[in-house]
Each structure stands twice: as structure tokens, then as C-alpha cells.
Symmetry: C2
Subunit: 473 residues, 2 copies
Amino acid sequence: MKELAKLLERIVQRVNINLRELGFDVTPYVANLVPPAQMLKFYAFYGISPNHPLNFQFRHTSLAGSYFLGKCQVTNSLLYKSDIRGDELKKKGDLFQCQGFEIPIQKDEEINIKDSFLIKTLVHSFSHDLETPEEFFIRDTIATHYSNIHGSPIDGCFLGPFVTVDLTTIHDCVVGAFSYIQAGEISHLSFKPGTVWVRNPGVFNFLYKYDPQELSKYIYFGPGSRPQGLFIDFVEDRQEAFQRVFDVVNLEPGIPVPRNASLDRFAVVKPHTLISENVLVAQRAYVQNSFLGKGANAQENCYIINSWLEGNDVTAHGAKIIEADLGSTVFVGFNSFLKGTPESRITIGNDCIIMPHTIIDVKAPLTIPEGSLVWGLVTNQKELAENSVSLDELSQVDSYFSKGAMCFEGSGKKFVEAFTYRIHHILEANGALYDGNKNMGHAQKNQRIAFNTIQPYTLGDSEGLYPTIIIQP
Amino acid sequence: MKELAKLLERIVQRVNINLRELGFDVTPYVANLVPPAQMLKFYAFYGISPNHPLNFQFRHTSLAGSYFLGKCQVTNSLLYKSDIRGDELKKKGDLFQCQGFEIPIQKDEEINIKDSFLIKTLVHSFSHDLETPEEFFIRDTIATHYSNIHGSPIDGCFLGPFVTVDLTTIHDCVVGAFSYIQAGEISHLSFKPGTVWVRNPGVFNFLYKYDPQELSKYIYFGPGSRPQGLFIDFVEDRQEAFQRVFDVVNLEPGIPVPRNASLDRFAVVKPHTLISENVLVAQRAYVQNSFLGKGANAQENCYIINSWLEGNDVTAHGAKIIEADLGSTVFVGFNSFLKGTPESRITIGNDCIIMPHTIIDVKAPLTIPEGSLVWGLVTNQKELAENSVSLDELSQVDSYFSKGAMCFEGSGKKFVEAFTYRIHHILEANGALYDGNKNMGHAQKNQRIAFNTIQPYTLGDSEGLYPTIIIQP
């Protein structure tokens, strides 16, 4: 394990150099975060499919349990059970339209991970950086449990657990646990845990901060210890169910899957689940005793338990939906935690937007009227009133709006439009809108992918390190 | 499957060009030998171990179910459930001593398979060709079910089922089913089925030919049909048992394995089997209700059923031992078929040599005295007398000796010495002689190898073809 230890040391040093201005030392956070022996226990894997042009290049890495689909290079890095998708990377010949620019794409975009340590991190979609449209880079970065690096080139950062950086280019920042950052381009900032920030410079700015005390019950990550709290307990309680899907080479789905739907063979689906047409259940999704209506999707690291999703619902990466009934076209954002009980279910009307990183944790039934936007911590009807607004009302805002711990500036109309447009895009990309002919998406394309396993050296100085692996068409 | 079909066509053409002088057309033998859909059904795999320096390079191939351990390149080839070992390849800095030459090895030897179609073929050990000591090449060759290309660079050949080419460089030859060829260097020859030929030019020459009628009961391969006979039925009857070991990712051995022994995780071991120290059970070996004494080995594609192996016994690639009791240091050569029954067991004394490609198939008990050499077809005590000789007697021969259908010329002493030396080498290489300190071999080294799986494209024109795969240290 000698080389593995040296590799980790080297990454820690590089991240610390990037964060020196912020005076942040990652060392006490990283020590023992993943016991070295764990790096040996899980095979990594990559998908072979003619729908996803191949280029995997792994050099001097440990990849325990990680998953690769699109073009990706990993160098001098440790990935632990990370999920590196890449099936939405731009392709040569595409026209990248963003912020009024139209950029012709000269070569297939690739994910490029260097000198980084990612733990259970999801990396997905594509670089939203106009400056590097053909490279989705992740450099000199440590991202901890269940963070999402989503469309966000990142360099010199430390992400706490359950952090999401979304559509943002981010340099030399520290992002505290459960923060959600969607801000265009930022650098040299430090975010406290539970910051939810959505900004389109000059157009709108949404900011909510969790009360640290309240948040720490759900997730707390201090120096010298591993992440703690209800979120961690919740996922650890269900970890065993995943063991089986990784232990068996060919796994037949235990339930019927319509031809236009996709149930990933690395998802867990427990009894009394119904999968309708155009549904996508991604790998490492967990669905139990639930109904997924037509076009609903269950993305990576999400949990859907004892719930009803009417149709065209989005359960984003890391979202949890427990004992809830969702109308159609409900969006539940990244890492949101919706926890009802059998006696106190959560009912969510059509076309609601549950903002990323929302916690709804109720002991009495809760009903969210259709067309609402919900954010922050909601444990009862009163807090719902403080932490939600109707999309219609928000659309009227054109300068400033505040409610509870949330502040909004700018155009409410543009904010609602941006969200609505994005939800439509997500449904489209995932194949929810497939009509048997047009609008094919992941649910239809991500089928019959062959998964090849890769493992590290099991002995000697290189123990835990993977050999050089190059896979091309 | 378009590209797969073109690849096979191309290989067939190349082999036919090599065999044009012999007027042999492989086409009717190859058509439908492996249904194309089979090429999709099995993952191939390669071992990652610090004891086996890595260099795998697979380009434009289909590798269904094949296994790779040592350095190997495969290009424009179809391999179907082949076993490409390579853990005895020469290493940079070695001195290759052969036929009085001492050749310094300049670079690690590699297996290089090009433009070939191998079906369940075993490729093992290293190039015995003085002219290409650093490349064990296999080119423009079709090798069918359970053939062994053993230490034998080969070019432009067609090997029938259960053929072994051993320590021989062979160009543009057709080798009929169940023939065993160990002859130094040969070209432009055609061998009838059941030819057993061991030659050291100028030193000795051993020749036995099976009666075609009698052999066809065991193995027959004609144009337009697949190989048939008892050998095929025997392995097919036991194929299902292998399914399980390939279906499960991590398989714990069901029986105790001493620390100095090695039971491959892709072997089948059925109840009431005992594995002693220094035993090697290779992948795709099948052991059932048998005792493997200290230092015994069970090599690839061998079957040991209801048998007792006292210790230091060699069960070579493809050998079958059923209802037999072996003394110590008994050698059972390639593809030999020893079939007793519960009422008529085969008893083999110490230090016997059962020549490669021997068939012992009895309906009454048979006893082979210690120190015997046995060859050919033996179905009763009388035939044993015709098809065996004591090693002592053979050692006296210095010009000519004939018995039954066997002719021997040259030095019997040298012949016995060569065999005895080789058996010692095999035991040594396999770790049978390990004393806890010295003489470490495969049984001790082939442990804790991580196996990575590889699979082909499952859709489109490339269906069944593997991507380019490069694995290096």
C-alpha cells in the first residue's frame, strides 16, 4: 500500500497549496476518511456501448468501486465508489450554445480527472465553462461523500459531504457540507455548511442558509472524524442491499421493465415496485415499494421508498423520497431529503419544484399545493409557508423578495423560466418524452451496456493501485 | 455482427492461403463451429498481479470467455473460451538454454496472436523456438476445441479438436483430431487424426497411430459438422458446473485450501475433494470427490473424478482421470482419457508415465505396474501389454523398438531421461517442490490475482467485437 499512501499525500499537498489563501488545511478532514483496505474491496467498472464513444485512460490511480461511462481520463487520483457518467458530454461537430455564444465543438469532450480524491462523488453532464468546452476538468480537488460535481469544472477545491456544485466553474474554494452552489464562475470563496446559492449574474440571485445547529442533526463533518448524521445513517442502513447487485455477474431484473424504460443492473429495486414506460432507474438508485409513472426518473444515489410518482417526475442525483405522493412533473432537486412516515405522508401537487438540498422531515401529514417552489428546512405546515412560494407569485417578482431565511433578488420570472426549461431538458435527456420515434434519451439508449470490471494490484508496493488501463474504440 | 463476420472471413482466407500447398480448405470445418451469438455470451478476463508483469494489448478482436495472464497481444483474432496463460514466459535478463545454445533474453517475452481463430485452445509456457525466443507467435491459425498450443510458435496451421502441438515450431500444417506432435520444427505436413509423434531429431523418434475407426468413437471431426464423440459428450455434460463460477464475482472456496496450495477461483471443485499442500488446481480444472496429495496438480481443462492422486502427480492440460488410483509422481499427459468405473478402477503405480493422448477405457479393473510407460488405446489388460513398456526396459533400447502400433527409434535412455527431466520441471514450475522457502512455483505465486472482466459491444455493426484494450503496469 506504499504507493497508495504516497499518492494520497501528494493529492493532499496539492489541494492545500490551492487553498493556502483561504488558510484551509484539508489534512484533518481526509485522514482515515477511507480506510486503505477499503480501496481493495470493490471492483471498478466501465461501460462498453456503441452509443458512448470510448476513451478511458486510467494512469496511476485507485478506482475502488467507481463507474465510468463516457470518455474519461483519470491520472494520479483516488476515486472511491465514484460515479463518473459522461453520457451527456458534447460531441465533435456539436454547437455549444451558452450565454449568447455559439461555440463549435472541435473534438469530443472528455472528463479529465487529475490529482484528485473523490469519495462517492457523482460527476455528470458536461462542462458548462465557455472557456473549456471540450474538457470537463477536475483537478487538485477533494470531494467527500455523496457530493455532486455537476457540469462544473473544478480546480483546487474541497467539497464537504452532500455538496453539489452545479453548472459552475469553481477554483480554490472550500464548500461546507450540504451546500448547493450554482453560480456561473467563482474562485477563492469559502462556503459554510448548508449554503444554497443559485445565481445568474445580473439576472437573479437566490440565497438560503441552513441553521448550523439544525443542519448538524442531518449532516455534520468536522476535522478528525467521518461525516455524521441522519443522512449518513440513512444510506449506511441500505448499503447491504447494493452488495448483491455487485456480487453477481449477470443479474436479471426481478420485475417487468417496459421496452422503452431502463433499469440499470446496478440499481436496487425492492418488491412491489412498478416501472412504467420511459422510466430511467440509474445505477446506484434504490427503489422500494414505489410506483414510477411514465417518464419518471430515479437518478444516481437517489432513494424512493413507499412512494408514488405520478409521471415525468425528476428525482435528481442523491435525492431521497420516503412515504410521499408526487403529482406529475414534480422536480425533486439534488440531495433533497423528503421524509414522511406511514401516518404522515408528504403530498406534492403537480409541477412543484423542490429546490436542490431541501429537507422536508415531517411528523404530521404535509401537503404542498401544485405549482409551488420549496426550499430549506421544512418540518411542519408552518415552516412550509415560510419556505415556499407559488411559482406564479415568484414570477411577479422583479427586484427583491425575502421569506424566512431566503433572500431573492432579480427577475422571478427568469428564475422560474430557467428552472422550468431545465426540468424540461432533464426529462428530455432522460428519455421521458420518447414517443416511440422522437426524443430518445437515456432510458432508451442506456440499454445493453456491457460492464467490464477492473481491479487493483492485490499485493506488493502497488497494492490498491490499478495498472494503466486504456480502452478505445 | 457485421464486422465479426468479416473478421472470421478474413482469418479463413489467410489460413487457406497458408495451406494452399496441402490443398486443404478450412471453410467447411469452420462454418458454424461457434454460433456468432455465442461470442456475446461470455466475458473474457485478465489477471492483475505483481508477479506477472503486465502488457495486454487487444485490438480488433473477439475474446469471448478467454483468459489472459502473462504478457499478450491479440490482433484481428477471434478467441472463444481460450486460455492464454503466459506465466512461464521468459523475462528480460534470463538466459535461454536450449539445444546447446545460451541465448540472453533482451526483453520480456510476449505471446502475440494475430489473424487467428482459437476455440477453447490452451496456449501455455513459452516459445521453444531458438529463432524467436522473445516472441511466442500464433499467426494465421485456426485451432479447434480443446487443442493445446504448448510452447509452440505456430503459423498458417489448422488444428483439429483435442490436438496438442508441444515444444514445436510449426508452419503451414494440418493436424487431425487428437494428434500429439512434439517434433522440434516442422512445416507443410498433414497429420491424420490420432497421430502421436515425439521426435528429437537425431536422438529418438516415437510414433503411434490410432486406428481411425476406434478413435472416431472418442472424437470425430468431419467437414460440415461440429466435433463429435465421447470426449465432447464428456465435457459438455459437465459444462453447467462451470456456469456458477463465472456467474459470481467473489467466490470463496467451498473446501479448505492449505496456504501453500492454490485453488483457482475459476476451477470447479465438487464435494468430497481434499487438497493437500503445494497442490495447484488451475482455472477450468474440474475436481470431484478426489484426493489430491501433496504437490499434485490439476491443470487447465483437466477432470479428476472419484480418484486418488498420491502426491506429486501431474494431470496435464486436458487430461481426464476417472475412477483411478494413482501412486506418487505419476504423469498423465495432455488430453489423456483414463476412464475406469466404480467396479473396474484403474490403478497406476508410482513413477508411471501415461503418454500424452493416451486412452485407457476399461470395463474390468486394470493395474499398471510402477515405472511403466503407457501409450495409445488400452481397453483391457491385453492391450495394456501391447501399449506399455517398463521405463527400465525402454532405457535399454539404443536403436529400434516396436510394440503393437508403436514404433520407436533411437535412444530409449535419452527418451526416458527427457520425460523424467520434464516431469521434474513441471512439478517445480507448479510449486510441488516448495519447501516453505525455496522452489516457489505457480501454487504459491498464483494467489490473490485480481481478475478483470472484459466484454464486447452488444449492439451495432461492432456487436461481438471488443474495443481496443491496453493494460500496462
